[in-house]
């Protein structure tokens, strides 16, 4: 058992003990062990954090005695990507998730929060999740030794080099994206616990706790939303720099899997802000709160259990079953419990007025609209499995499915948003007229198609009526509703912001930024996909040709220089992987008959008629050269050599071991024979200058890296010139001096970046400055989570 195993077992024991103490106090409605709980939760967090740091240390020092380290990294990788290896596989991701969840649990326990029986329930559920992850880690540990991986290997066997990291993960964005995503998932643990505890409490005939914990829920959800948005954005930027993934978004199953919790969390936040104790959303808001985490687990299960294969399948060696069990538990607590409660109710028990257009009904529509978008994505992941299971027919879910079903819903949501914001300021009559006008404009714009590029999707007569109608519509239809949103939001901001408190102003500004960001993103995304254009050119002899080449059918020309072919690691030291004579002797007869690389300094040479033998380091280890080239000049006394061959123990009486080989497999350490094969990556690259209309617009390096020991996988280095109206994106395929260049013009990337920035800044402002529930608000600082006032209606 390694220190890592011990840390994990301790973490599991402490977290289980915490649950037992919490459970005992909860059942007896006592506070006997309450004062120990924060310490125990902290201890669990400390143990898991230490385990994570220890694993990271093993990665940094490339300690291949750990099988997981051996599997996910190698020496030539820079420090950053050795750290990235920690969460490149399932075990490491679970450890990261567990650690973050335990830190969140500790943070929650440290804050005084609401006392009483329900606090123990919330803490119990939170620690339950941490314990479950710990069980997963104990069953499938990231600390398993290489001997456990290879039971037949000799004792003390440590590989000389690692298998390496998936080449697609060798990217700066990938170093940050997973931790940010796991932070958001970890933060969702507490709202899940509160939501589930609320329904458990209701089922037990108690009051529930949502009303008291409302502010707390809102803050947890908002922080998680911020991180999840950042994670989606980072993932999109990553896919933008990796060739062949269709730009920033390709509806790959894993992309869809992170988008589902995001959409549902967005819907949940709208429902939670619409929550009025005893009046409004008393069931739906807490139910959605607990469902978000269950959905995050569901989507993770689908993509990590190996049911789905995707470009993201970095780790699919089957943590399937554990995740499926966790999925069942979270689905029961987060979805089924609320549903059972809801069915048992006579309704929300509230008399609702019969007016159609009220703020709260409009918000309800927003929740339903966002819920529909989430459903479209969930269904897209789910129905191919269902259909395959029930009929044996495999169906394809492509971008067309997601885009065409989502598009009308997005337009409806935009119109609704514009109307809601307008209604807030203008009142009933005028806002209805505006809605009518913008709806008519939207429908009208759907018919304006200057060319086929404006059409949303290419459809054929065999497609369903829905696909034909939406696919034939013009992308121009997104402009009127987005304009409507922008006008209404800015008008509302001018109307409301001047007359409220400073904190209120910042929060309102945040809300304005978020919604403006959404409008900008929707328009830019729709256009960028339809109007990306590309042209290509081939430079036959890029090694010697530095002329400027015009790119046909475009305004671009290109010039290549410094064509180079390099390998990684550079000047590798064969002594790292070859055994020394001392190591050969210490391993003894266990090496008999195995093929090994051995190095050492020649101290004696004996040449015979059929073989030449050379002694290494005055030891009992000899290199035996057979065959015709035995008189190879590579053997001379005092020379440090490396050789690869069969280790024969007690082969001749005069030596302990003879490494039987031939001249091709022997060479000096400074120039090892090819059989030692230390090259991991073959990189071909060249410098490129891009001109548009004769003016240089970009210069940089393009090319590709081929990862020899990872199935020959290729990763491209693209050149991106970021422009105000369009990005110029160059992909190069270099092959034996020939450069095939593809130049893409991708419009509207700047507005997309601005849209994302608006979203993130807006979210931070709302999170910090909400006058009642913000992180800097008085009510929060005074450490009471009881809502002093009813939630504001302005969200």
């Amino acid at each position: 058992m390694t220190p890592g195993h011990i840390l994990l077992y301790l973490a599991l024991s402490v977290s289980l003990a915490t649950i037992i103490l919490l459970g005992r106090d909860y059942v007896k409605d006592a506070e006997k062990y309450s004062k120990y709980i924060p310490t125990l939760v902290g201890l669990t967090a400390g143990l898991l954090t230490t385990a994570l740091i220890y694993l990271t240390y093993q990665f940094v020092t490339t300690d291949y005695s750990n099988a997981y380290v051996w599997n996910n990294t190698t020496d030539y990788l820079p420090l950053l990507y050795r750290i990235t290896g920690v969460y490149a596989g399932n075990e490491g991701s679970v450890l990261l998730w567990a650690t973050l969840a335990s830190i969140v649990a500790f943070w929650a326990a440290r804050m005084r929060g609401v006392s009483g029986q329900n606090r123990k329930l919330v803490q119990g559920i939170t620690m339950g999740i941490v314990s479950f992850f710990s069980v997963m880690l104990v069953i499938q540990s990231p600390f398993n030794t290489i001997t456990q991986e290879f039971p037949q290997a000799v004792p003390g066997f440590v590989p000389a080099t690692g298998r390496g990291l998936n080449p697609l993960l060798v990217d700066p964005y990938m170093a940050i994206h997973p931790p940010v995503m796991f932070v958001s998932y970890a933060l969702l643990t507490v709202p899940f616990a509160i939501g589930s505890a609320h329904f458990i409490s209701l089922h037990r005939g108690q009051q529930g706790l949502f009303k008291k914990w409302y502010g707390s829920v809102l803050r947890w959800l908002r922080i998680s939303w911020l991180f999840l948005t950042a994670a989606v954005a980072l993932g999109a930027l990553w896919s933008y720099t990796v060739l062949g993934w269709g730009g920033i978004w390709a509806w790959d199953p894993v992309e869809t899997a992170i988008f589902i919790p995001w959409l549902f969390l967005t819907a949940t936040l709208h429902a939670v802000t619409n929550y009025r104790p005893g009046r409004n959303y008393t069931v739906l808001a807490p139910a959605m709160t607990s469902t978000v985490f269950a959905l995050a687990i569901y989507t993770t299960s689908i993509v990590r259990s190996g049911v789905f294969r995707s470009v993201h399948s970095f780790a699919n060696e089957g943590i399937g079953l554990s995740l499926l069990i966790l999925m069942a538990i979270t689905a029961f607590l987060g979805v089924l419990l609320p549903l059972i409660y809801w069915f048992g109710q006579d309704g929300e028990g509230v008399t609702q007025d019969s007016k159609w257009i009220t703020r709260s009904n409009l918000l309800h529509l927003a929740v339903l609209g966002l819920g529909t978008l989430a459903f479209i994505s969930i269904w897209g992941l789910t129905f191919p499995l269902l259909r395959d299971l029930t009929t044996g027919i495999e169906v394809e879910v492509n971008a067309k499915y997601y885009n065409l079903w989502s598009y009308p819903i997005v337009l409806l949501i935009l119109l609704l948003l514009g109307f809601y914001m307008d209604f807030d300021v203008e009142g009933h009559e005028r806002s209805r007229i505006a809605l009518g006008i913008f709806t008519a404009l939207t429908i009208g714009a759907a018919f304006i198609k200057p060319s086929s590029a404006w059409q949303l999707a290419s459809v054929s007569s065999t497609d369903t009526a829905f696909y034909r109608i939406v696919g034939n519509a013009s992308v121009l239809s997104v402009v009127p509703p987005a304009t409507y949103v922008c006008i209404a939001i800015i008008k509302r901001a001018f109307e409301r912001i001047p007359n409220i408190s400073r904190r209120g102003q910042l929060k309102e500004f945040g809300i304005t930024l978020i919604h403006l960001g959404v409008a900008i993103l929707v328009v830019s995304l729709a256009f960028t996909y339809l109007f990306t254009a590309q042209s290509s050119v081939i430079i036959q002899d890029a090694r010697n040709d530095e002329a400027i080449h015009h790119v046909p059918e475009s305004s671009y020309s290109v010039q290549a220089a410094n064509y180079s072919e390099t390998t990684k690691p550079r000047n590798p030291d064969p002594r790292r992987i070859a055994l020394s004579s001392q190591q050969v002797l210490s391993k003894g007869s266990s090496l008999n008959g195995t093929i090994k690389a051995v190095h050492g300094t020649i101290t004696a040479i004996k040449r015979g008629p059929r073989a030449t033998v050379a002694q290494l380091d005055n030891s009992g280890v000899w290199i035996g050269l057979t065959g015709e080239n035995q008189s190879s000049t590579s053997l001379s006394r005092g020379r440090e050599i490396v050789a690869r061959g069969a280790v024969m123990w007690n082969y001749v009486p005069q030596a302990d071991a003879v490494v039987v080989t031939d001249a091709r497999n022997v060479g000096p350490v400074s120039n090892p024979p090819p059989a030692i094969n230390l090259t991991r990556v073959e990189k071909q690259s060249m410098d490129l200058r891009i001109y548009r209309d004769g003016n240089q617009i970009a210069a940089g390096n393009v090319g590709q890296s081929r990862y020899i020991k990872q199935g020959g996988m290729q990763v491209r280095d693209v050149l991106i010139n970021r422009g105000l109206t369009q990005d110029t994106y160059v992909i190069a395929a270099l092959n034996d001096g020939t450069a095939s260049l593809t130049i893409k013009r991708i419009p509207l990337m700047t507005p997309i970046r601005i849209g994302v920035l608006f979203l993130l800044v807006g979210m931070i402002l709302v999170l910090l400055f909400d006058p009642i529930h913000g992180l800097t608000a008085e009510s929060h600082r005074s450490r009471t989570t009881v809502s002093k006032n009813e939630p504001t209606t302005s969200d």
Binding site: G244, W245, G246, A250, D252, P253, R309, S310, V311, Q352, D353, S354, K355, W356, S360, N361, H364, L365, L368, G371, T372, F375, I376, W379, G380, F383, P384, L386, R387, G392, I393, E394, V395, E396, V397, N398, Y401, W405, S458, D463, T464, F466, Y467, G711, G712, M713, Q714
Partner: protein
């Protein structure tokens, strides 16, 4: 009934509608014996495809693909949709191998023809001898050129 309840019922009905419609509108990728790509139909069982090839005296075209490969989608959209390409494909017996399929037969084909990433096409004789290989994505014209070359070699 309150407006909100009516809206919720409409929402649930819409979800059911979307669910049903979209599941039935999804393009079929494969059934028991064929895999569908764009407007083309490919065998999924190599042995039965070879029997058909022997019977019809045609060479075989093996297509290595995956569901997540964007270039495969480009083949569907731009190459297989072209009547000229389909006319050339008619001269071959078509077999599609999903690279994510780890059955013994698929693994053997992957190894035999060195197919490590999608998309790759390999034209072979009925005896399995390689006639032409298309690594990655080829545009319509290049694709047809490859097929013609394979066809010429098959007739030699």
């Amino acid at each position: 009934m309150s407006p909100r309840k009516i809206l919720t019922i409409v929402f649930l009905a819409a979800l059911l509608g979307i669910g049903y419609q979209s599941m039935n509108a999804a393009p079929v990728l494969s059934d028991q014996s064929y895999s569908y790509h764009g407007e083309t139909k490919w065998h999924t069982n190599f042995s039965s495809a070879r029997a058909v090839a022997v019977n019809q005296d045609k060479p075989i075209l093996v297509y290595f693909w995956t569901t997540w490969c964007t270039y495969c989608e480009d083949y569907n959209q731009n190459v297989y949709s072209d009547p000229a390409v389909r006319a050339h494909l008619d001269d071959f017996v078509l077999v599609a191998v999903n690279l994510d399929n780890n059955s013994p037969e698929a693994s053997r084909l992957k190894q035999q023809y060195g197919a490590t990433y999608p998309p790759q096409h390999v034209a072979i004789t009925q005896q399995g001898q390689q006639l032409a290989k298309i690594n990655g994505y080829a545009k319509k014209k290049a694709f047809i050129d490859y097929l013609e070359r394979a066809q010429r070699r098959a007739n030699q």
